[in-house]
């Protein structure tokens, strides 16, 4: 009952405060635009919005970014279904059934199925998020630094194993991110590390520069390389949304239940986000679905599965973020950064001591899910027009938003140098297929991992075996080792087996 009352209080904070409501609507519209706009990805859009939150209070800042995250999982469906252009990687499975349904003359129904899936999946996952967060936060309260270190390591390794591409490249990316976080004054001993005599580096490297540079400038440089090579637009039908009837919804009820569950669970796993949820859910449908034989021909099940899972993953990803301070996806890593920029480290203590803040964020997820569907339903014609916006102009604005983020941070020319360097690193990573997410997460969680490691070592007389001998941390560390070992084994075994 306490949870219910706290959630109602949260709704009051979000809906009755004009500032909170306004930033939520702005976030929803921006998320939808970013998902549709060529040359911008959801994570990149959330990164670019981050500097604008400096001047806001923590609640509006988190509401803005969360609303972008929620609506970003839905907006890309429009272009996938209508034009066969996935707005986001997570929308690729929608090409396989959504576009054929549109080509068959039912684009409005295909869009209706995505709306239903996003709405129902989002609300179910938001409810599960609230229900699960309290016990997880209580559990997290009982943890000490060795356990925390093991959990952070689990988060970092999950990103590595799920990032895609070669495992060694993901590990290198992670290690570089962790090393960037060590630059500057060491918090335990006060020693200067890797400053090379430069004042700029003595102050440390802000993770904001790493993420904005690598995601923003790196992506623009990659796009410049593909100069003038944008996808052709072929429309699949009229632009409108028609909701499916109740009988049709009942026919896909098990697809919906499976996908919502899969999406939520994958969202909780650090490193796996909406993209993996969408693909895995489609794959499960292909294996266990009632209509698996017809998958790919333009059936509702093929739309419901990926869209429900993608939106459900948002609720799942918010659980480890708000209860333990571990981001479950790229976008939640940036929301974590927003918390930290406002001097708050999310975790069990914040969860219970600032319950009003946490429940307002929970409430904002519910409102965002409903709001994005309303905006999506009525403004779809307007939103898809964004697709015609020249990518070259988007790129120029993205570059300036990135530099603006760097200047707004510490107002030094040195930060402009750093962000440009991280932009080049981001481009080289894309070029040579090194995943960027582990580096960004390493830069964000590096200081937290190091402080928990050092505190443990000091508290337990430099005995590193403590990580393996305590029951909880030992179990998590064993799981970490096994995960890494299995990943290495998978990368070495013959591919045709």
């Amino acid at each position: 009952m306490d949870v219910f009352l706290a959630l109602m209080q949260g709704f009051q904070t979000v809906l009755l405060d004009p500032v909170n409501l306004l930033v939520l609507v702005i976030g929803l519209v921006l998320g939808l635009i970013v998902a549709v706009l060529p040359g911008l990805t959801l994570v990149m859009g959330v990164v670019l919005a981050l500097p604008f939150t400096y001047g806001m209070g923590i609640l509006p800042a988190v509401i803005l970014l969360t609303a972008m995250y929620v609506s970003g999982t839905y907006g890309g469906a429009f272009t996938s279904i209508l034009f066969r252009i996935p707005g986001e990687p997570m929308d690729v499975p929608l090409l396989w059934d959504g576009y054929p349904m549109a080509r068959r003359g039912e684009p409005a129904l295909a869009l209706g199925w995505t709306l239903f899936s996003a709405l129902a999946g989002g609300l179910v996952a938001a409810t599960a998020m609230v229900a699960l967060s309290v016990p997880v936060a209580r559990l997290a309260l009982a943890l000490s630094t060795p356990e925390y270190f093991a959990i952070i390591l689990l988060g970092l390794l999950s990103v590595v194993t799920l990032a895609g591409g070669a495992l060694t490249k993901a590990l290198i990316s992670l290690a570089l991110g962790l090393l960037f976080a060590t630059v500057g004054t060491d918090p335990t001993h006060g020693a200067l590390r890797y400053d090379f005599g430069l004042l700029l580096l003595a102050d440390g490297i802000e993770y904001l520069l790493v993420m904005v540079g690598a995601y923003g400038l790196g992506e623009v440089l990659t796009r410049l390389e593909q100069r003038g090579e944008t996808a052709a637009i072929t429309q699949g039908g009229a632009i409108a949304t028609r909701l499916p009837n109740f009988a049709a919804v009942l026919k896909v009820k098990w697809t919906f239940v499976r996908s919502a569950l899969v999406g939520f669970i994958i969202g909780v796993i650090p490193g796996a986000g909406a993209t993996i949820a969408s693909f895995v859910s489609y794959g499960i449908e292909g294996q266990y679905g009632k209509n698996r034989g017809k998958l790919g021909t333009g059936i509702a099940d093929g739309i419901v599965a990926p869209q429900t899972a993608a939106t459900s993953s948002v609720g799942g990803a918010m659980v480890p973020l708000l209860t333990m301070g571990i981001p479950g996806s790229g976008a939640t890593a940036i929301i974590l950064a927003a918390f930290m920029l406002h001097g708050v480290q999310p975790g069990p203590h914040v969860f219970f001591k600032s319950a009003d803040l946490v429940y307002a964020i929970f409430a904002s997820v519910f409102v965002a899910v409903i709001g994005m569907c309303i905006i999506g339903y009525f403004a779809i014609k307007l939103l898809v027009k964004v697709l015609a916006f020249p990518e070259a102009i988007t790129s120029a604005f993205v570059v300036m938003f990135c530099f603006m983020g760097a200047l707004a941070s510490r107002s030094t020319i040195g930060d402009l140098w750093l962000i440009a360097v991280f932009g080049i690193i981001g481009y080289l990573f894309e070029r040579y297929r090194f995943p960027i997410a582990p580096m960004v997460l390493g830069a964000i969680l590096g200081p937290l991992a190091e402080s928990n490691f050092m505190t443990t070592m000091i508290s337990f007389a430099n005995d590193w075996t403590v990580f393996f001998t305590r029951p909880v941390s030992g179990s998590i560390m064993a799981f970490n080792v096994l995960t890494l070992a299995y990943s290495f084994y998978s990368s070495w075994r013959p591919k045709d087996s």
Binding site: F52, Y194, Q226, G286, P435
Partner: protein
């Protein structure tokens, strides 16, 4: 011979990382604590360096011995798409928005890098407004936009918008430039009511 060259090219990034790893290990002596048995400020970076160096060695060996070039999709995604028989399509579908990867022209990315670095180099001299205009104009043209007049107008309007946002909304002090460029920046600031 060509196959070996391809493998060497694939291994090159790992060798660069390996070099960086050893160099950073060497540099960590500067801040290492000279008290045996104590956990000093070098322990954490060195632990990370072990991970970096080991990964680079394994990556280089994989690239040289097996010539592995993994796709960019996650293992979970590959597994899921395999079950629905679309494993071959997923990489291509993920690239739809970006266009055909075979038509990549690294020269334009190189020009982009020059533009970014040029912006940082000249901003203290020319000031925010002029440098921003030049960067935006350059990026728009570099990205393949064919109409210079519209590109110029867009860059000018964008510069003005960013100038106003910085000065009136987020209150960031911007580089004013030197000499006449400083005068220009001050005049613009006065025009929007910033003293």
């Amino acid at each position: 011979m060509i196959r070996m060259r391809v493998r060497l090219v694939r291994a090159l990034p790992f060798f660069i990382v390996l070099g960086v790893g050893f160099w950073l290990w060497h540099e960590s002596r500067v801040f290492a604590l000279a008290r045996p048995g104590y956990v000093g400020p070098e322990v954490w970076p060195r632990a990370v360096l072990v991970l970096l160096i080991a990964s680079a060695v394994v990556g280089a060996v994989q690239a040289l011995v097996r010539g592995i070039d993994e796709g960019s999709a996650s293992a979970l995604i590959k597994s899921a798409t395999r079950t629905v028989g679309r494993e071959g399509e997923v990489e291509a579908d993920l690239q739809i928005e970006a266009g055909d990867p075979s038509t990549r022209r690294p020269l334009w990315a190189g020009i982009g890098i020059v533009l970014l670095l040029g912006f940082v180099v000249i901003i203290p001299y020319l000031g925010f407004t002029l440098t921003t205009f030049l960067l935006m104009f350059g990026v728009i043209l570099c990205a393949g936009y064919q109409r210079p007049l519209i590109a110029g107008v867009t860059a000018a309007l964008g510069t003005l918008a960013f100038f106003v946002i910085f000065q009136r909304l987020v209150y960031v002090s911007l580089p004013l430039g030197v000499g006449p460029f400083k005068e220009l920046s001050i005049t613009l600031m006065a025009a929007i009511g910033v003293r």
